[in-house]
């Protein structure tokens, strides 16, 4: 359902404000549902991976690929399956599913990491004293909470970056769901700039408030759910994988059914080839932007690290600033940035916040690994300090940060490039979606996913192995 806030004479601002707040609540509700699904899926999948080597071996590469697929890549899946299965609420479900795809992967991997790094004595303690049911409820679920809360911060920001994409589902035919993303887009389309700016302001303020009153507390206090909730949740964690697999199979069956009904004809193959050509030729433009953004992020990250190592009291300030930055969706800042810069610079400015947040967040952790007393005692300074102490100590964290930022920046280009009106793989993908050009969308998604995964497996993985050798 889409509410059009027509401006009546004299009460335009009040009307817009009310509509914007309602739209925001609708968006937050959708995101909250997606987040709940994400957390449930994350625990079930991560626990199954932790328990079974076979599940682990099968799931890790799948998650690796899925987290590299841009959100638009899930569009055909969401649209066909959910609308076909549930005509009444299909669009809503599709939106929740799309938001899920922008939230889930880092949370799943975070929970999995928490399980994998659980000290052996705790594993034995569960075996000896608790048994699996209570062990899951009181050890496994709580031990991963810190990572879950921390990743919610990142996932929420990421989902908001793609909020327009998940509320204005366009694949030839356009479906607009009532929400803050579609509210702002519609207002801009109508030329109703005051409504658009009101929507943007409401979005930014709501995210800042959410951060200040809820997300920050989750990360700082790591609240524990009551025992009864944990104990009920533990059955889901133990057996939820079957439900997740069932759901995934249903989705894929739906897609297969659709594909079977409309078998690919010769023109589609031609379209696909054209799409691949177009994608391959527009990829270098996006690659250049992504590399530029990563380079600047790495430089800023290292400078921030050097400053925090020198003055540890700066760390809290940096963390607060980063969290505030991550709670303001860059897409919503774009009219503001666009009034200063255009084109190429605007595209970079939109890609930059996400990348710098990932990089600096990860690099701050490296502070512990810089042997400060040694540096002081032997008077190591200047270039020697940076080249032989700071950068090597930071490298594992830098690689982790850049690896995340790398995939994130490619996916963000799908939103940033069209907004900045520059050519590139992101713009091509967006255009294909708007036109309902499924072949072009498939080709561009495949090319982007291949680039991200291939570089992850070669460049980043190798750098990571190098760095891991001297990391204790």
């Amino acid at each position: 359902m889409y509410i059009n806030p027509r401006r009546g004479p004299g009460h335009g601002v009040a009307w817009s404000l009310l509509a914007a707040v309602l739209a925001l609540l609708a968006t937050f509700a959708r995101m909250a549902v997606a987040l709940a699904v994400t957390v449930a899926v994350a625990y079930a999948v991560a626990y199954a991976m932790y328990r079974s080597r076979r599940v682990e071996a099968a799931a890790l590469p799948v998650i690796d690929v899925l987290q590299s697929v841009p959100i638009l890549g899930f569009f055909p899946l969401a649209l066909y399956v959910f609308l076909a299965l549930f005509p009444a609420v299909g669009a809503e479900l599709a939106a929740v599913f799309l938001i899920f795809t922008s939230m889930a992967w880092n949370i799943i991997l975070g929970v999995y990491q928490s399980f994998k790094t659980l000290p052996r004595e705790y594993v034995e303690y569960v075996q000896l004293y608790l048994g699996e049911g209570l062990g899951v409820a009181h050890v496994y679920v709580p031990v991963a909470l810190r990572s879950v809360y921390y990743n919610i911060l990142i996932s929420w920001a990421n989902a908001f970056f793609f909020i327009t994409a998940s509320e204005v589902i366009t694949l030839g035919t356009e479906i607009k769901l009532f929400g803050i993303g579609s509210f702002v887009v519609s207002a801009f389309e109508r030329g109703d700039y005051s409504s658009a700016y009101i929507g943007i302001a409401v979005g930014i303020l709501a995210n800042l408030a959410l951060y200040a009153f809820l997300l920050r507390r989750l990360v700082e206090e790591v609240p524990q759910p009551p025992a009864s909730v944990l104990e009920r949740f533990s059955a889901w964690v133990k057996y939820g994988l079957y439900a997740v697999l069932g759901g995934a199979a249903l989705l894929l069956a739906g897609v297969a059914y659709y594909a079977f009904q409309t078998p690919p004809s010769a023109p589609l193959v031609e379209d696909l080839l054209r799409g691949f050509m177009h994608s391959v030729f527009s990829a270098p433009l996006t690659l250049t932007r992504v590399l530029a953004v990563l380079g600047v992020s790495a430089a800023i990250g290292l400078l921030v690290l050097a400053a925090v190592v020198k003055m540890p009291r700066l760390e809290v300030g940096v963390l607060v600033a980063l969290s505030a930055l991550s709670s303001i969706p860059a897409v919503f800042l774009y009219p503001l940035i666009a009034s200063f810069v255009k084109g190429e610079i605007l595209a970079l400015a939109l890609l930059f916040p996400g990348s710098v947040i990932y990089t600096v967040f990860n690099l701050l952790v490296a502070r512990r690994d810089v042997p400060l007393e040694f540096v002081k005692a032997y008077g190591i300074g200047g270039l020697t300090y940076y080249l032989h102490v700071l950068i090597p100590a930071a490298l594992p964290y830098l690689v982790t940060g850049l690896l995340t930022a790398w995939g994130g920046a490619w996916n963000a280009s799908v939103v940033a490039e069209p907004l900045a009106d520059v050519a590139g793989l992101g713009t091509y993908m967006d255009t294909a979606t708007t036109r309902g050009d499924v072949a072009g969308l498939l080709a561009s998604v495949t090319v982007m996913t291949l680039i991200v995964v291939a570089v992850n497996k070669t460049v980043w993985q190798r750098l990571y192995d190098v760095a891991a050798r001297w990391r204790s």
Binding site: E121, E124, L128, Y129, L134, H138, V139
Partner: protein, 244 residues
């Protein structure tokens, strides 16, 4: 019939043989200290008794019944306290009792008694991070005793503590076993310290490097509480050292 028995056990990790036909029996009422070089498999043996690991060949038995998994009669105390940071001292002790079928109310009452027993009355509502290392290890001891086992296995329980704290806990452990203050009648403790072994144990078993064999099995026949300054104590120390 021995209480605990490891019979002809073999165990290898990636082709390195840790045990090759090891035999060890522990009688009811003993306090056995397992001594040996690092990596000789003392902890592995302890974990087999606890039902956490299985030998590649041979059998580990409790009262002649093969041990196939954790048993209610056998509790293990780790080197680190291994407490849940998100639970109070009381709930840390109570949780395993809930796992054994008690209601939370009953479990907390029992936990209260065992916390008092290890000298932690008044700290029931404290979280582990608010307790010192020694107090955390006391909570872990209360947790192991609260499940009312017959056998308590200890994996270097005092090695992470400062010497004074370790000494007072050591003395208490000897007292609760020697004076029959709990359900525990038999203890097996892995240690690196010859002094600790001679101070607490009724029997010291020295293992060789991999693959581990019993190179010495010495009954320590001195009354408790033991006096480290006595010539007898010194003689036992020298005897044990001569096998290391």
């Amino acid at each position: 019939m021995a209480l605990l028995e490891a019979e002809k056990i073999k165990k290898s990790y990636s082709r390195v043989a840790v045990f090759d036909d090891l035999y060890l029996a522990v009688e009811q009422g003993e306090f056995v200290a397992l001594l040996g070089p690092s990596g000789c498999g003392k902890s592995t043996l302890l974990r087999m008794f606890a039902g956490l690991e299985k030998p590649d060949a041979g059998v580990v038995k409790f009262r002649d019944i093969p041990i196939t998994g954790p048993r209610r009669e056998i509790a293990l105390m780790f080197q680190s306290p291994t407490l849940l940071p998100w639970k109070t001292a009381l709930d840390n002790v109570a949780l395993p009792l809930v796992a054994r079928g008690m209601s939370w109310r009953e479990a907390r009452e029992a936990a209260m008694r065992y916390l008092a027993f290890v000298g932690l009355s008044g700290f029931e509502e404290a979280y582990p991070s608010q307790l010192s290392g020694g107090m955390q290890q006391r909570v872990a001891l209360a947790r192991a005793l609260a499940v009312e086992p017959e056998v308590l296995l200890l994996d270097e329980p005092f090695s992470a503590l400062d010497p004074l704290t370790a000494e007072s806990l050591r003395t208490e452990l000897v007292r609760l076993w020697h004076d029959n203050l709990t359900t525990v009648h038999t203890l097996v403790m892995v240690t690196h310290s010859v002094d600790e072994a001679v101070y607490v144990a009724s029997r010291v078993v020295v293992l060789s490097p991999r693959p581990a064999k019993v190179v010495a099995d010495i009954k320590i026949e001195m009354p408790y509480p033991r006096n480290r300054k006595s010539p007898e104590f010194q003689r036992y120390l020298d005897l044990v050292y001569s096998h290391i």
